[in-house]
Amino acid sequence: MKNILKITIALAFLFTLSSCWLDKTKPNYQYMPDMYKSVGYDTYSVNPNFGDGRTSQPPVEGTISRGKVPYDYPNTQEGYDAALLNLKNPLEVNEANLENGKAMYTIYCISCHGASGAGDGELVKRDKFLGVPNYKDRPITEGSIYHVIMHGRNLMGSHSGQLTAKERWQVTMYVQQLRNELLK
């Protein structure tokens, strides 16, 4: 009788101890990890089959991945000038496009350009980024706005990786709307 008691107490004590996962910088243990870990390569996992050891690879040169729209204006001053004059927005100006344009603007542009486009975003207010122009001070067109989102300009980087072609045009549309309001 007494032995059973002792054993139960010891077991209970052991369980309490072993249930503590002390080092939070290491992941907790797994039981039979075969079903936890992916057999295929995960998006960001190391991959010995490629020279650079990465699973996520850039598209092969000269190919266009499905759904991507190629952009022909080069990242030069000439390209900018050409886009400024010739590039036109293929999307129709409507509520839905403007709404998503605003949503995307609020994520990707607002930090520097500010909610109204006056160049007074949070990063500017906190002196992290300076000299962000007010949209009304620049002779920009829909072509040049799209070009700058695509390739960046001066210290602004390219945002083509974060936005799809359609979203870029929607943002362009919204920026034009903001600019027109600022010009009033």
């Binding site: 008691l5 209970a12 249930s19 980087g157």
Partner: protein
């Protein structure tokens, strides 16, 4: 204008001469006076540097810095190099000047990578004069600013303390040596300097104070003969002030409180159960004991004896122990591979609190693939570089135990990965870029499918719902358990917004009719079907 400028140069030259013979205090006063003098002079005759600074920051600073090259050249003292009228024309319409064939304009254009400067027709002549005034006035202002600033010596002293003293001393609390905060109150500075430089010599010289100090510990202090008087001054300054208390952490506690789950903790429940059991056994023992006394079977039986030898209580106790064991076993089994609170050490000290909290950058700015894809992507380094091309040092509030230098080094790690030359502000050609090996925190088991786009874009769930108050975390950690029960709880409770999706209107109407409800939860729409997540 030119004459005026020359006189100013002369004044400052004369001033420089006199400064040399003066103490730092009088230097401060003279620089201040000179600055004020220039300031008033500028106001009347030329531009207003304060307005110039504002304009410079909003118009020019995107491409120019005063003291270093950015996209355009450094602008400090540009008025020495170029004529003011030319500069005004250039700032107003540089492309026009290049086209018109102005020789100087073409030369400047070609010197700066043939990137034309943006025309600024919105600036008035006075505005430009203000800006130009600012490009001159900066050094005067800078001297004044440094002189009036808190004390750079304290920061230097901290570094000296860290490299030399911290092995044996702490500011507060004893280590090998005594605590050093406000040590200057106890001993004189001159004596302390001698002691730090060579304490053995001081003891040998028969200094009484030194003998007492030497008896503090059997281990003699290392002499620091390499420290200069300036070093020692700074060190003593730092010891007098100590660390300025970090303010960063205080905000997060209250936020975390909100996210804590309701309900009684495990330990109180356990205590109540054990307490109830003990009470029960005591009552039973007391009752049986009284019975025994009444029956007069054995007169001298104590309550304690009944407690131990009562067969019913023994039985009860065993049952209880088994249940308790089973409960622990269950709890232990349930936490296998549950990584709530997992907080690995990342290759770069990237603080979400600084980026998403202080600077209010949207989560999706960096994790942009969350809106279209299964994975909420780790941003590529070029997204980091969108901002860090120009932000090469940390200027915010310090956090953790990091100094500004430590954090600058963390930004440097990014530059090392992508091959960015922060002095010349360009990518190093032919640099072999290296991936940054972040440690994955949120890792769902492979047998469960989860899609970010479905939750972020379709359902409009905020990132914080699952990932917790990330904008307050300096070191990212897993906030939610990511167990199936946790998923299901949320699916049962979340009501789906049916108003925005006309395409499925029919199905939605039928569903609400079927369940007799106005609003449908995710579970009622099939969010509990096994094959939705396990297939």
């Amino acid at each position: 204008m030119k004459i005026l400028y020359q006189t100013r140069k002369k004044i400052s030259f004369l001033n420089m001469k006199s400064v040399k013979q003066h103490s730092p205090l009088s230097r401060l006063v003279t620089t201040g006076l000179v600055f004020l003098f220039f300031f008033s002079l500028n106001l009347s005759a030329q531009g207003d540097p304060a307005n110039g600074e504002k304009l410079f920051k909003s118009v020019c600073a995107a491409c120019h810095k005063l003291d270093a090259k950015l996209v355009g050249p450094a602008l400090l003292g540009i008025t020495d190099k170029r004529d003011q009228d030319w500069l005004i024309a250039w700032i107003k319409d540089s492309p026009g000047m290049i086209k018109s064939g102005d020789k100087l304009a073409i030369q400047v254009f070609e010197e700066n990578n043939k990137l034309p400067m943006t025309a600024n027709p919105q600036l008035s002549d006075q505005d430009i004069k203000d800006i130009l005034e600012y490009t001159k006035g900066k050094p005067v202002e800078a001297v004044a600013a440094v002189a009036t600033e808190a004390d750079p010596g304290v920061e230097r002293g901290k570094q000296i303390f860290k490299t030399n003293c911290a092995a044996c001393h702490k500011m507060e609390g004893k280590l090998i040596g005594p605590p050093l905060l406000k040590i200057g109150d106890k001993y004189e500075d001159a004596w302390l300097k001698l002691w730090i430089k060579d304490n053995a010599a001081l003891v040998a010289s028969g200094d009484k104070l030194a003998k007492i100090a030497a008896e503090y510990s059997p281990i003699a202090m290392t002499p620091f003969r390499q420290l200069t008087d300036q070093d020692l001054d700074d060190l003593l300054k730092y010891m007098a002030v100590g660390d300025v208390a970090p303010v960063a952490a205080s905000a997060s506690a209250a936020d975390q409180e909100i996210f804590n789950k309701p309900g009684i903790g495990v330990l109180p429940t356990l205590a109540i159960t054990i307490g109830a059991l003990l009470l029960l056994s005591l009552i039973i023992a007391a009752v049986t004991n009284r019975k025994a006394v009444e029956d007069d079977e054995e007169s001298g039986v104590s309550v304690l004896k009944t407690l131990i030898f009562n067969p019913f209580l023994r039985f009860l106790f065993i049952i209880f122990s088994i249940l308790l064991g089973a409960w622990f076993l269950f709890g232990w089994l349930m936490q296998i591979d549950v990584n709530e609170g997992y907080q690995p050490i990342q290759p770069i000290v990237f603080s979400h609190a600084v980026h998403a909290g202080d600077n209010k950058i949207d989560c999706q700015y960096c994790h942009s693939s969350a809106k279209h894809s299964k994975t909420s992507g780790i941003p590529t380094a070029n997204v980091c570089m969108n901002c860090h091309k120009s932000i090469s040092e940390y200027k915010g509030e310090l956090f953790g135990n990091y100094t500004k230098e430590d954090l600058d080094k963390e930004i440097q790690k990014l530059y090392d990965a992508v091959g960015w030359d922060k002095v010349n502000v360009k990518y190093i050609e032919g640099y072999e870029q290296k991936p940054i090996e972040w440690v994955r925190i949120h890792n769902l088991a492979d047998f469960a499918y989860y899609n970010h786009a479905q939750h972020v874009t379709v359902a409009g769930v905020a990132c914080q719902t699952c990932h917790g108050p990330v904008e307050t975390m300096h070191d990212m950690k897993q906030f939610s358990p990511l167990t199936m029960g946790w998923c299901i709880d949320c699916h049962r409770a979340t009501e789906v917004d049916l108003t925005k999706n006309g395409y499925y209107k029919n199905i939605h109407d039928q569903l609400s009719k079927k369940y007799g409800v106005e609003k449908v939860t995710a579970a009622q729409m099939g969010g509990l079907e096994c094959a939705k997540c396990h297939y």
